[in-house]
């Protein structure tokens, strides 16, 4: 049975709607899931997941990439169907099959990409699609009053007439939250809400969250950032490998405990490269690199033969770092030199000098979906496959076919449209484009996102082989396993600078994870 939800009603005297708050229910169970299972293509991604969120609590959800956080949220909000298990709201089982069901059950999600219309006011955005009024004429005064009432009720500080375009990110999120509350949401889910906020803006968001908590709203808060989880949450559920590994009360939230729970027992590395050879003459040096607010002062040296891992949270400046080196972003200060000579600001010149770059967002920045596999591979090597600007078609074909064979791209058909390839094969195409050139400096940004385990192992193999031939590999990654097992040395970024460097046995997942949150490892934390 579905709980009935009262529609906001208008009072005869001018429009203020009936106040719905949940203070009286604080501490009672709001959302519970029991025994939720989910498989994708035969792979179990959720196993017996039990969540319990109460009224008036901020409940944090943490876990490594792939732990199942997003999947459970998508099941709660009706994006995915669960294979087994129950979802209960207020103790009553509910069926949530789509976003309408979720909204009716009082569940609302604040998305990372905000869905506001910049040209409209706060009030207009909140009522977008459900404007009060008749015959298509918006009842402006009524809308304003209802929004003002809503704002007052939660004690937010925001002007309902402000145009969204003029607001900062944290205020925009406030509008998103108000939008959720206007539909009487009792559970607000936030997925990494601070990833695009500055410190000050984050603090304002936290104040907003505190206000919601006081009004009895339940908040499910997904984050990678330990310090804000500690600051905000009443309880924390930690997931790992599709399972809930534990629920901590506020006082139990200690970095050591949490990271240990997230990572589990660390398997000491069986297949890491040992005794790799450094090619000292092949050196890339970055000194005092700056890029706006994202990179403050970054210096390091990378040598041929070495795989240098760059860790850190999303938004820590990792992507900007490699893009600045490559020439895709114009740095605001500092120097980049390769073999002693300054690196050009022209991407084309850098490519000819031996650089290559695999971008993070394959679909937007890497692949040419309408082109064939062959053209996708040769697109970066016209310099080697042409004479006075005329393509040598024979060489072009051989180049493509060799790469398809070497990097085992399926189907083995250079005319096949890249858009129709699987994610793993698309990534092989994008990587193969560069590997075929045997670049001296290969920059990788999240090279295995969305790639299944088998293909991953192959990609690592290719990259390692290239490193063993003396190339510099710089690999940005959010995947702790990838960093600690594939990279020979790890630099972790935090707040636009290198926070800590790890090599050898010190490069544990726990230490890297802590450093990414801006904490140094003390003795004994690293291992269980």
């Amino acid at each position: 049975m579905r709980p009935t939800l009262k529609k906001p009603e208008r009072t005869p005297d001018g429009g203020a709607e009936r106040t719905v708050t949940f203070e009286d229910r604080a501490g009672k169970s709001l959302l519970r899931t029991e025994g939720v299972y989910k498989q994708f293509n035969g792979v179990t991604v959720l196993r017996d997941v039990a969540l319990d969120v109460r009224y008036g609590e901020v409940h944090a959800l943490m876990g490594e990439n792939g732990a199942g956080k997003s999947t459970i949220i998508k099941i709660i909000t009706g994006v995915y169907e669960k294979d087994a298990g129950r979802i209960m709201i207020d103790g009553e089982p509910v069926e949530i099959n789509d976003s309408h069901d979720a909204r009716r059950a009082g569940i609302s999600v604040i998305y990372q990409e905000l869905s506001l219309v910049p040209a409209l006011t706060v009030a207009e955005n909140i009522f977008l699609g459900q404007e009060p009024g008749r015959y298509g004429v918006t009842g402006r005064s009524e809308m304003r009053e209802r929004v003002s009432a809503l704002i007052d009720r939660y004690g937010f500080r925001i002007d309902p007439d402000a145009v969204v375009d003029s607001l900062g990110m944290s205020q925009r999120q406030m509008v998103e939250i108000l939008k959720a509350l206007s539909t009487d949401a009792k559970l607000v889910i936030m997925d990494e809400p601070t990833s695009s906020l500055s410190t000050a803006e984050s603090e304002r968001l936290f104040e907003t969250i505190d206000l919601l908590r006081q009004k009895g709203v339940g908040i499910l808060y997904v984050s990678h950032r330990l310090e804000e989880v500690y600051r905000l949450s009443d309880r924390l559920t930690v997931m790992r490998g599709g399972e809930v590994v534990g629920v901590l009360d506020h006082d139990e939230i200690v970095p050591k405990t949490v990271t240990t729970m997230m990572i589990g027992r660390e398997i000491r590395d069986a297949n890491a490269r040992r005794g790799y050879k450094i090619y000292e003459d092949n050196v890339l040096e970055v000194s005092h690199l700056r890029y706006g607010k994202l990179l403050r002062d970054v210096s390091f040296k990378a040598y041929g033969g070495e795989i240098l891992g760059i860790g850190g949270l999303v938004g820590s400046g990792r992507t900007e770092l490699v893009k600045c080196i490559y020439g895709a972003l114009r740095r605001s200060g500092g120097d980049v030199t390769y073999r002693g000579a300054p690196v050009s600001k022209s991407i084309g010149r850098n490519i000819r000098a031996g650089f290559g770059f695999v971008p993070e967002d394959r679909r937007v920045e890497g692949l040419f979906p309408a082109l064939s596999i062959g053209r996708n591979i040769t697109v970066a090597s016209h310099d080697k496959l042409s004479r006075v600007s005329v393509m040598n078609k024979g060489a072009e074909q051989r180049w493509a076919e060799e790469a398809i064979k070497n990097y085992d791209i399926r189907p083995r058909d250079r005319g096949y449209r890249a858009a129709n390839l699987s994610g793993g094969n698309q990534q092989k195409v994008v990587l193969g484009r560069w590997l075929a050139r045997e670049p001296d400096v290969l920059l990788l940004d999240e090279p295995t996102v969305g790639v299944d385990v088998g293909v991953r192992a192959e990609l690592y193999e290719y990259v390692r082989f290239l490193a063993s031939r003396g190339s510099i590999i710089i690999m940005v990654s959010s995947d702790l396993f990838e960093l600690t097992h594939i990279a020979d040395r790890i630099l972790v970024m935090h707040g636009g600078v290198f926070f800590e460097e790890f090599t050898g046995a010190a490069a544990t997942q726990a230490a890297v994870l802590l450093a990414a949150s801006g904490q140094h490892t003390d003795e004994g934390v690293a291992l269980i």
């Binding site: 997003s70 890497g366 697109v379 005329v390």
Partner: protein, 336 residues
């Protein structure tokens, strides 16, 4: 099956469509098959075709060039006016042609800069220059048509102009030879040069192109210059067919060329399209327009028919594109 696949694919299917037009004309209007009509159709096809080959470069980048008709008019006016003012001297003719080429390059560069640096939609930019150029043309000519003197034996410059439009080599009219040359050069550029490779890449994914070292702005500006340049060339050839130049020359040709693009299976979103598609489109546009003229369709209504053809072709493309997109829904991805 998409219109793009249907028209842009095998010539077999294209020939069926052209044969249909011929069949209709054979029944409806025997005059279609007379020699004089055949050459006027060929001229029209050649002019549309040269413009289409140029516009193809821009459309491959996901842009449009609506100024081609006006660019043709202006360049013809420049050549005619300077030649006339020089007293039909050879030097005057040469100056005129150089000036027309320079003007078309300038317009192309302007288009390219507006689209790249100012991030303006090409549709708006080229629509504006279309009006500007149609406004400039009567200023160049002084408001009336300029007619080249018909006594061509006496003057080498006039003779030269006349031969551009009317001479035949091995019984092939010069405009067709120009068209063929343009097809060969443009086709080679697109199919076999690094610039051609970059154009298809740029049209398909500009962000990724920049990251593999394509100089996006330079290559984009070049495409607009090609389009303007070929429009200018077709304008000069067109004016030499009838030995006259004025502001209404090639008026509205951009509509026919746009129809040629779409019927030729060239994806207006960029990245997909071939020179053979542009050639087929030009054949189609030339034949359809000629058919309507012969059947005494009023010229305003001809525009309506053109519009309907464009609408239907785009509609079928959009529909089949959407269907194609629906076929392969990826399985729900595992969590990132």
């Amino acid at each position: 099956m998409s219109v793009r696949r249907f028209f842009g694919g095998a010539w077999g299917q294209r020939i069926v469509i052209l044969a249909l037009i011929f069949a209709v004309m054979a029944v409806a209007e025997p005059k279609f098959f007379t020699g004089s009509n055949a050459s006027s159709v060929l001229f029209a096809i050649s002019i549309y075709g040269m413009m289409a080959c140029g516009m193809l470069f821009v459309v491959l980048l996901g842009g449009l060039d609506l100024s081609v008709g006006s660019m043709a008019a202006v360049s013809a006016c420049i050549v005619a006016q300077i030649t006339m003012k020089s007293g039909y001297s050879g030097a005057g003719l040469l100056t005129g042609i150089v000036a027309a080429i320079a003007a078309s390059i300038a317009v192309g560069v302007l288009h390219g800069l507006c689209v790249t640096y100012m991030r303006m939609p090409s549709f708006i930019v080229t629509l504006s220059t279309k009006y500007i150029l149609y406004g400039v043309a009567p200023i160049i000519t002084g408001g009336s048509f300029i007619y080249y003197p018909q006594e061509m034996d006496s003057n080498s410059a006039v003779n030269f102009i006349y031969s551009l439009g009317n001479k035949r080599i091995a019984n092939v009219p010069m405009p067709v030879i120009f068209f063929a040359a343009v097809v060969v050069i443009a086709g080679f550029t697109l199919a076999s040069t690094t610039y051609g490779r970059r154009l298809y890449a740029l049209g398909g994914n500009p962000t990724a192109s920049a990251l593999v070292g394509v100089r996006v702005r330079r290559d984009t500006v070049a495409a607009y210059v090609v389009s303007s340049l070929l429009a200018a060339l077709s304008g000069i050839v067109l004016s030499s067919v009838n030995m006259q130049a004025g502001q209404t020359l090639a008026q509205g040709y951009e509509g026919s060329v746009l129809m040629a693009m779409i019927v030729g299976g060239i994806n207006l979103a960029g990245g997909e399209g071939t020179i053979s598609g542009a050639v087929f489109g030009a054949l189609f546009a030339g034949l359809i327009n000629n058919m309507m003229t012969l059947l005494s369709v009023p010229s305003d209504f001809q525009k309506a028919v053109q519009g309907a053809i464009i609408l239907v072709a785009v509609c079928i493309n959009a529909y089949s594109g959407r269907r194609a997109g629906r076929v392969k829904l990826p399985a729900a991805p595992a969590e990132k």
